[in-house]
Amino acid sequence: MNRLVQFLLLFALTSAAQAQVVVTLQGTVRDSVSNQPMVGVSVVVDFRKSLTGTTTDANGHYSIRLPIGNHSIVFRSVGYVPFRQNLDLTDDQTTVDALMVTVSNQLEEVIVTSKGFDRTVRQPLLGVSQINITTLQRLPAALGEVDLLRGLQMLPGVTSVGEAANGVNIRGGTTDQTLILLDDTPIFNPTHMFGLFSVFPPDAMNGVDLYKGNVPARFGGRVASVLDVSLKNPGLDQFRLTGGVSLVSNRLMAEIPIVKGKFGLLVAGRGAFNDFLLPLASSRLDNIKAKFGDGVVKAFWRINNRNTLTAMGYVSYDFFQTQLLGNLPNVNGTATQYDHQTTNAMARWLRVLTPQLNLQTTVVYARYVPQILSPELNSDNKVTLRSGVLQRQAKSNLNYQLTNHKIEFGVDATHYRIEPGTLLPGSSPSVNFVTTPTENALETSLHADDEFAIGDDLAISAGLRYSRFLSLGPSLVRQYAPGQAVDNFSVIDSTRYGPGAVSNTYGGFEPRLGIRYALGPNASLKAGYNLMRQYLQVVTNTTTPLPTARWKTSDANTKPQISQLLSVGYFQTIKQNAYELSIEAYYRATQHIIDYKPGANFLLQAYPETQLLQGRSKAFGVETMITKKKGELTGWLNYTYARTFNQVNQGAGVQERINSGHWYPANYDRPHSVNASVSIVADKHNTFGFTLAYSTGRPYTAPEGYVISQGQPFPYYNERNQARLPDYHRLDFSWNIYNPSMRPRHWQGNWVFTVYNLYGRKNAYSVFFRTEGGQTQAYKLQIFAAPILSLTYNFVLK
C-alpha cells in the first residue's frame, strides 16, 4: 500500500522510509463536559523536533505512526485549552485518550485565528483562517442574528459592497468566485432577506475554514477562495436541546442519540415569520413582506470502528417583497415578489483502511430555485419567472498519514444543470410561456496533495489538481464572425448538439504550493502560489447579485475564468502565544472575468454571450493583523490595503469596452480597511464585546454632466465607477449574560443584548440620482442607518 500511494504521488520529494521501529499511537479525544467525540482536533507530536501531526476523525479518533521513544504530544482545538502529555512510547498499540476543556470554563478566550494557535506559524499554508463559532456568537450581531458573513468581514481581506450585499468579496474576487460549502454542499445564495442575514444555521455550525490564500487541491471550481462551513455531528451519548428567540427569528436544535454510541440525529431549524408585525409598527410598512427559514437534519452512524456514515439534508427558504427591488420588466404586475429555495443533501462514507489510511467517499446534491413572482391586477394569478441550478457531485478522497507526510489523493465528478429561466404565465391571458435552453455540463478532476517537512525549518504543502470541463448538449451553439461584436447580427453559423454530446471542453492543471520557513520557534516566513479555474459563474449587471441572478456554465462563447495568486507572509507569536502578528501580501491576476455591455439584459436571454464581455482583473494588497488570544481581554486589530481593478477591451466599439478599455476599479474596490474587535470577560456571567469597522467607500458611477430635455435636467453617465461613496464606519456593542444562577443545571440560558451601529452612522449603501420637479437630486440609500437594538435569549437543555 505504501508503494502504491507513493506511486500515486506526483511530487513526493522525500521518502518516509527510515530504519526505525515505528509503532502506532492512537486514542479518542472528547469534550470534557459533554463527553462527545471531537472532530478535527489537531494532534501534534514533538513540535520542537519535527512536524508530525494528524487530526481526529469524525469519531474523535486519531492514530499516528511514531518511532519508539520519548515524545511529547499536544491536542489542540480552537476554543479549548490545549491538552499536553509526555509519554514514553514502548510497545505497539499505545493509547492516549484526551478530555478537552473549553476555554470559557477557564476564563481564557481563544478567538478568530489563522488555523488556531501556533499553526499560524507552523503550517505551510497561508491565508487560511479558522473561525471559532463561539467567537462568532459573541460578535455583536445586527438584529441579534448570529451572522457568519458579517463576522467574516471583520477579517482582513474580506469585504462586501455594503449592508445588503449578497455575498462577500475576498481578496478582490467577485461574490461567485468564492466557493461556499455547507458540509460539502455548495451554497449558491448565501443570504436571507436580500443580504441582511446569512443562511448558515447558527446553532448547527461546527467550524468554518476560510481559504483565501493557499487552497488545498481538493477544492476547485472557483477562482478566489473557499469558505468551508461544517455542521456539527449529532452527539451519540446525550440528548441535548438548544434554541433561542431573537427579534427576527426563533431557533431550535435537538441532538438525539437514537442508538447510544452508534447512531445519532441532529435536527435544527430557524424561522422568521414576524413580518405581520410590521404594519403594526407603521402603516407604511404594509408593502414589505418578508419571511425566511432554514433547517438541517444530520445523521451520523458509526457502523463499526472502521466505517462511519454521515448524511445531511439542508433546506432554506425565503420570501421577500419590497419596493426596494426592481420589478419584472415587460410583465404587467402590481408588485414584485422574490422567493428562493435551497435544497441540499450530502452522504459521506468514511472507511478506515488502516490506522494511517482512510477513504472518504461523498455524494452531493444541491438544488437552488429562485423565483420572481408578479401578481396580476384584479386576479389571484401570479406570473412566475423560475430558474434553477442543480449540482450533483461524487467524490472520493484517500488520506494517508505517514510520520512526516500527510498525503491526500482524490477524484471528483460534478454535473451541473442550469435552467436559466422559464416564464410561467399561470392562468394569465396576457403572458406567453417563455423558456431558455437548459445548460448541462460535467466537471471532473483528479487531485493530490502532500504536506511534508524537510528538516526542522522547512515545510511544504504541494498540491496539483487537474480539472476537465465538458459543456454538454442538447444545445445550439452559435458561431460569431471573428473581429466583430458578439451580437445577434454577427452570427455566421450555429451548430446543434444532441443530448449528451460534448459541444466544448476546457481544462488544465491547477498547481497549488505553500512553503513555510521557520525563523525560530515563534516566527516563520511563508510563500504560496495558486492557480484555479472556474467554469460556473454568476452573470449579472447589478452591484451585488440578486438572489435571482443567472448562473452560467462556460461554453464555446464564454471562456472559463483562470486566476493565479501569489502570496507571501510573515507570522510571529509573542509572549507564549498570547499575541499573534501576521503580515500577508498578495497579487492576483484573473483572466476572462465576466462583465457586461451597457444596458445588458440577461433575463430570459437565450444567448447571454451577446450581453457579456470578458476581460481581466488584477488585485493586490497587504493585510496586517495583530491578535491577542489569551487573557480576560482578547481581540484583534487589522489593517488592509487592497485594490482591485478590471479591464475590459473586446473591441473598438462603445458596446465592447468599458471606460475606453482602461483599467477601472471594481465595484468592491475599497483601498483601506481597519477592523477591530475586543471581547472582555468581566466575570463568570458577563462578557462585553465591541467591534469597529472602517473602510473606504466603494466606487459608484456618478453623472459626468446633465442633459436638459423638456425642461428637466437628466444625469448623463459615461465612465464607470469614477466616484466613491463616503467612507464606511460603524461601532457595535454586545453584552452576553450567562446563566445568572451559577450551578450547572439541565437548563442553561443566556441573554445577548446588542447594539449594532452604536453611534448611528448613516452609512451609504448606494448613491443614486433622480430627476424630479425640474431638478436632478442625489440620494443615498442607507441600511441599518440608526442604532439597532436587539435582545436574544438562548438556551441549552440537556
Binding site: 458611477t701 446633465y706 437630486q777 440608526a786
Partner: protein, 394 residues
C-alpha cells in the same frame, strides 16, 4: 404576550430603521463638465403641428444650461426619397411643413447641419403601427407615489389600460399622457393687484386686461391670488418614461398595464389623455436604458449606469456622443375621465395648494365691504400648461 409586545416594539426600532426611511438627500460634490448635443423629436401620425428640438446641454461645476441650436439646416428624409425641410419657429425648435403627418410603414431619417457646418444624421426609423387602447380604468391607491425619493407618499389614482398586442410581430410600446385638472385660481400677483378696466358696460361689456399692476404700498413678498373668471384647466404632462416590449406576451391581450399614477390633490374629476406609441427596437432599448438610469434607481441592486447612446451621430466625428433619439411612432390616443369617486379616504387641499405649497391669499376688499368685494376675477390665459377650452372628452 408580554414577549410579543416587547418584540413588536423592538421590531419597530429595528426593522423600521433597517428597511424603511433609509433614503436621504445627498450632495456628492461632483464637478460636472459636459457639452452635449440633445436631439428630441418623435414623428407621429397625429394631426397637428410637429416639431424637432435641437439644443446643447452644458454643465459645469456650478451651472447647467440648455442652449438652443439655432439656424441649423434641418431636413427629414421620408422613405429615402422625398426630403422635407424644417423651419425654425422658435430658437432651436424646428417645425415640419404645414399639413405634414407621419404614416405607418414610412421611414424617416433626420439630417441637420449646424451653423458652423457640423453635420449630423440619425438612423432610419420606420413608423410601426400601434394597436388601439381598448379600455382604461383606475384604482385608488392610498399609498400612492413619492414625488421625491425622500418625501412621504401622496395618494394616487393609478390608471391601467388594456390593449390587444398584435400577433406575429414584435411590438415595442411607449406611453405618455397629459392630464387636465380644473383650476380655480387663474392669477397670482407679486407686490401688485390684478386689474381689469371695463371698456363697455360694467360687469358685462368687454374689458381691457392690465393684469398685475404693481402696488408699492404692498410688501415686496406680498402675493395675492385671483379666482378664474370662467372655466380653466391646468395641463400636466408625463415626465417618466414608460416602455414595454411584447417579447413575453406576443399576440396576447394585455390587461392591467399601469400607464399613470396621478397624484390626488383635489377630488374634482380630471381628464387624462393616454397616448400609446409604437417604437422601433432600438428606440425601445434607448428609452429602457434611459428609464433604468433616471427613474428605476435606488433599489438594493441597481444596474450601474452606462452611457445612453442615441441614434444620431456626428458624420465626421464618430466619437461624439449625441444624446436623444429621433424616432417615428404611430399614436393611439384615448381620453379617460378620472371621476375620483373611488377616492375613499384622505383630505386634499386642492390643486392650488399642491402646486404652490400655500393656500390662496385673496386680496382684501377694494372699496369697503366684505373681503374680496370689488376684487376682479382673472382670465385663464392659454399656454402649454393651461387651457380655457373644454378638453375633448371632458
Amino acid at each position: 404576550m408580554t414577549r410579543y409586545s416587547i418584540k413588536s416594539l423592538l421590531l419597530f426600532l429595528g426593522l423600521l430603521a433597517a428597511l424603511y426611511a433609509c433614503v436621504d438627500a445627498y450632495d456628492p460634490e461632483l464637478s460636472a463638465n459636459t457639452d452635449l448635443i440633445v436631439v428630441e423629436g418623435i414623428v407621429t401620425d397625429l394631426p397637428g403641428i410637429q416639431t424637432i428640438s435641437l439644443s446643447r446641454s452644458r454643465s459645469s461645476r456650478d451651472s447647467i444650461t440648455s442652449l438652443p441650436i439655432q439656424r441649423a439646416a434641418v431636413t427629414v428624409t421620408v422613405n429615402g426619397t422625398s426630403s422635407l425641410r424644417l423651419t425654425e419657429v422658435q430658437p432651436g425648435l424646428y417645425q415640419f411643413p404645414a399639413g405634414f403627418r407621419g404614416q405607418t410603414g414610412s421611414t424617416y431619417q433626420l439630417y441637420f447641419r449646424t451653423e458652423t457646418g457640423v453635420a449630423y444624421e440619425s438612423s432610419v426609423e420606420t413608423m410601426a403601427s400601434v394597436p388601439p387602447v381598448l379600455r382604461a380604468y383606475d384604482e385608488f391607491n392610498e399609498q400612492g407615489i413619492q414625488t421625491t425619493a425622500d418625501s412621504p407618499p401622496v395618494p394616487t389614482n393609478d390608471v391601467y389600460i388594456d390593449f390587444q398586442d398584435p400577433p406575429n410581430q414584435t411590438n415595442f410600446y411607449l406611453w405618455r399622457w397629459r392630464l387636465y385638472e380644473s383650476q380655480l385660481w387663474c392669477a397670482t400677483c407679486e407686490q401688485g393687484r390684478y386689474t381689469l378696466v371695463d371698456l363697455g358696460p360694467v360687469g358685462s361689456g368687454p374689458v381691457n386686461v392690465l393684469g398685475c399692476v404693481r402696488d408699492t404700498t404692498l410688501s415686496v413678498f406680498n402675493l395675492f391670488d385671483y379666482p378664474c373668471r370662467g372655466l380653466c384647466w391646468d395641463i400636466f404632462y408625463s415626465t417618466g418614461v414608460n416602455t414595454f416590449a411584447d417579447i413575453y406576451a406576443n399576440g396576447r391581450l394585455q390587461m392591467g398595464r399601469k400607464v399613470a399614477s396621478i397624484p390626488i390633490y383635489q377630488r374634482d374629476q380630471a381628464l387624462l389623455v393616454i397616448e400609446q406609441l409604437s417604437l422601433s427596437p432600438n428606440a425601445y432599448r434607448y428609452y429602457k436604458l434611459f428609464a433604468d438610469q433616471t427613474q428605476n434607481t435606488g433599489t438594493l441592486a441597481d444596474t450601474p449606469p452606462a452611457p445612453t447612446v442615441g441614434n444620431v451621430r456626428n458624420l465626421t466625428n464618430a466619437s461624439e456622443n449625441v444624446v436623444g433619439y429621433f424616432s417615428a411612432a404611430s399614436v393611439a390616443a384615448l381620453p379617460y375621465k378620472i371621476n375620483r369617486k373611488n377616492v375613499t379616504t384622505g383630505s386634499f387641499r386642492g390643486l392650488f395648494y399642491a402646486v404652490n405649497r400655500r393656500p390662496p391669499n385673496v386680496e382684501s376688499s377694494r372699496g369697503g365691504g366684505s373681503v374680496g368685494a370689488g376684487v376682479p376675477s382673472a382670465f385663464c390665459i392659454p399656454s402649454r400648461t393651461r387651457t380655457d377650452l373644454v378638453p375633448p372628452g371632458w
